[in-house]
């Protein structure tokens, strides 16, 4: 959360200007009157939830008036969106996926991750050292790991998005133009599905979809490897539907087998050390081939979700629709704040690139355009002076 008395007005001012000038960038959700909204405010813990708006105009008015730090909208549809959860009467929810760069374990991450003391806000430069954190200023033992994603991080997330889209359009047969990809506003992507077929599904059914996409729970039997009568024995019997499609097909391709390769598959299984060995190899393969999505986001049908077109207070960037994923550059396309000059105290040496402008700041105080100043402040790496 953003500290300091001087800092909040700066960020809030930039957010206000954005909502004032670019309210139209805030996307109207379908069936707006059936959605639950919520928002958080600068300098305040917690969230105001169970709100409802009858039109996007009403919502715009709220944005300009309250200037929230974060704005959320349910993916669920309710009969009574403003009632407490038990009385809302759930009508369905859009299917959503979340891909977060921080879940991808990319090797570049330590080189742009800054420990920021949760007690006093002191920031240290990135380091590879694994030693326990101790704040040089207040001796605090807890730090938040703040990351300034690099282009490799974004490319890593994009790769997952592409993989997800591949699964959705081939196996699940979705139309590409029913799949909406958004930059989350910080370090990942949200994928909203416009297909109404999935709206009625309950959390259990959604969790089954997550299992499918992330490659968890594939039985060896599904690709034709069955347990023999004794311990680690195995025999091959392909399932009735064959192994041409879906996960079966993916594994078959990987193992370079088809529905007639009984001997070859048996050989592979024996090489892996029998049924158990093959099974653990299979688990590894599916995990690698699956998409790294956050399971909780997809299965939670009562969540409120960052709204497209609104600003993310962890970065000051906007949650932005990616019309073309390949060319999308969040540091240009989602950086939508103004360029008024702001004086900041930068806590540690930082490097970043926003709106095509490279910043390499090693001095304590600097005059930065608002979009860059706000970005660093939101990250906890700078304070307004």
């Amino acid at each position: 959360m953003i500290e300091a008395a001087k800092t909040i007005p700066v960020v809030r001012g930039a957010f206000r200007e954005y909502y004032f000038k670019q309210a139209r960038a805030v996307e109207e959700p379908g069936k707006i009157e059936q959605r639950e909204f919520g928002y958080a405010q600068f300098g305040q813990a917690g969230m105001t939830r169970h709100l409802s708006f009858n039109s996007i105009k009403e919502l715009h008015a709220m944005l300009v008036k309250e200037v929230p730090s974060d704005v959320y909208c349910s993916n669920a549809y309710y009969k009574f969106p403003t009632q407490p959860m038990q009385e809302k009467q759930w009508l369905g929810a859009d299917l959503i996926f979340d891909i977060d760069g921080k879940d991808l374990d990319l090797p570049c991450v330590p080189s742009h991750t800054y420990p920021v003391c949760t007690n006093c806000g002191h920031a240290l430069p990135p380091s590879d050292e694994k030693k326990e954190y101790s704040c040089p200023s207040c001796n605090g033992k807890k730090a938040e790991r703040v990351s300034i994603p690099c282009s490799k991080c974004i490319e890593g997330s994009k790769k997952e998005v592409r993989r997800l889209i591949e699964f959705l359009t081939t196996d699940l047969g979705m139309q590409r133009d029913n799949i909406y990809v958004y930059f989350s506003g910080n370090n990942g992507f949200h994928i909203h599905i416009g297909d109404s077929e999935y709206v009625p599904l309950d959390p259990q059914a959604r969790s089954d979809i997550v299992g499918y996409l992330s490659g968890t729970g594939l039985l060896a039997e599904s690709v034709g490897v069955r347990k023999g009568r004794e311990g680690n024995m195995s025999f091959i019997k392909f399932p009735r539907g064959g192994i041409a499609y879906g996960w079966r097909g993916r594994i078959a391709d990987k193992l370079k087998i088809d529905g007639s390769s009984i001997i070859k598959l048996k050989h592979i299984v024996d090489q892996k050390g029998g049924y158990a060995g093959f099974k653990s190899e299979l688990d590894k393969m599916t995990r690698e081939m699956g998409v790294r999505i956050d399971p909780q986001v997809t299965t939670d049908v009562h969540r409120i979700f960052r709204m497209p077109g609104t600003l993310n207070s962890k970065s000051g960037l906007a949650k932005t629709r990616c019309a073309d994923l390949e060319s999308f550059n969040p540091f240009n396309d989602a950086c939508l704040l103004g360029g008024n000059k702001v004086n900041v105290r930068v806590k540690t040496h930082v490097k970043l690139k926003l709106k095509g402008e490279a910043f390499n700041i090693s001095k304590e105080s600097a005059e930065l355009p608002a979009f860059a100043a706000v970005y660093l402040i939101c990250k906890g790496l700078a304070e307004a002076m």
Binding site: D171, I209, L219
Partner: protein
């Protein structure tokens, strides 16, 4: 007129009368009766006695957990089915209705599976279009190879995600282009629960006119016979805790219940003083039900067999860890399911 109970969307596909005999819950069956000008009063005719006896037998067999497997001419089957529904309704006992509905579903399931394996593609198609679309709003297509069937992924998930077996997980299915490919057995398995719910609801929604004497007498007879098994449900506990309710629900659908859930159910029932006989019967819908084994196990838990220790009901915490807890607000402040409903302020 009982035939008016059989309404749902009419479809243009005509069924053969042989199909109607096997699937008397289809609209066509009702239509057939209507067209033949059949009337209520006729059930009092002496030659209808056979139908009424058959209906009673059908109910008894079904409620006993078995499948009534006689298959007669369609006129007889349709009438028998409708008279069965009327009798079950007038018997008015919830467990009887539930078991009866389940057994009708199982009966239809068997016929369906056979038919889907044997019939030609054209026949398959019309049978499916009829039963799955009209009854379950489930679109099914015959796959390109003429052997497998295709359902939409979302339709599949809406049903399969409540099955417990790993092979029903989507990842273990043949999935392509938004469809899940299933064989005949699997396709039918997918809707079995719905069929029993459908029959259950059909009976629930019926309003009975004055019954012909012949049916009344037979229904009373049957009721007297079944009542001792089901009527004394009044123990001190007015409502079961959610975890127990859930287990009973899973059980009544004929689905597999994990061992730990069975132990919970049995120990709970013992704790609230349900007789062993009745507890054993609670498990009779389990796919692997064997009365002798179940009885032994329940008696063991009751401390009547083996180690002679009486097992207590697992704590809420233990159940929570085993994903068997389905706590509601009413569970607040209790640590063991037996306390449920007893600690009211």
């Amino acid at each position: 007129m009982p035939v008016q109970l059989m309404t749902s969307n009419l479809s243009s596909i005509r069924m053969g009368t042989g199909d109607l005999a096997k699937y008397p819950f289809l609209n066509e069956a009702g239509e057939y009766l209507r067209e033949s000008g059949f009337g209520w009063e006729e059930l009092d005719r002496p030659d209808m006695k056979d139908i009424i006896d058959r209906a009673a037998e059908r109910i008894e067999v079904g409620v006993g957990g078995n499948i009534y497997d006689k298959l007669e001419k369609y006129e007889i089957e349709i009438l028998t089915f409708i008279v069965s529904l009327i009798m079950v309704k007038s018997i008015g006992m919830e467990p009887v209705l539930k078991k009866y509905a389940l057994s009708e579903a199982r009966r239809a399931e068997e016929f369906l599976t056979q038919d889907l394996k044997q019939q030609s593609e054209m026949q398959k198609h019309s049978l499916f279009a009829k039963i799955f679309e009209d009854l379950f709003k489930l679109k099914i297509e015959v796959a390109e190879d003429g052997r497998l069937f295709k359902v939409r992924v979302a339709d599949y998930l809406a049903r399969s995600s409540h099955f417990h077996e790993q092979e029903w997980k989507l990842i273990n299915r043949l999935v392509q282009g938004g469809h899940v490919y299933l064989d005949a057995d699997e396709t039918v398995r997918l809707v079995r629960n719905e069929l029993s719910v459908l029959i259950y609801e059909k009976v629930k929604a019926m309003t009975l006119p004055t019954l012909p004497q012949a049916i009344k007498v037979k229904a009373e007879e049957l009721r007297a016979k079944l009542a001792p098994r089901y009527e004394y449900r009044t123990s001190a506990v007015t409502e079961y805790p959610p975890c127990v309710k859930h287990a009973i629900e899973v059980m009544s659908k004929g689905e597999n219940l994990p061992h730990s859930a069975r132990v919970m159910l049995a120990t709970y029932m013992l704790a609230v003083g349900k007789p062993v006989d009745e507890i054993v019967m609670m498990f009779q819908n389990a796919p692997d039900f064997n009365e002798k084994i179940t009885r032994y196990q329940v008696e063991h838990l009751a401390g009547m067999k083996g180690s002679r220790t009486k097992y207590s009901v697992p704590s809420c915490e233990k159940l929570r860890n085993e994903n068997l807890c389905f706590a509601t607000e009413e569970c607040n402040g209790i640590i063991n399911p037996v306390q449920f409903g007893r600690k009211r302020k």
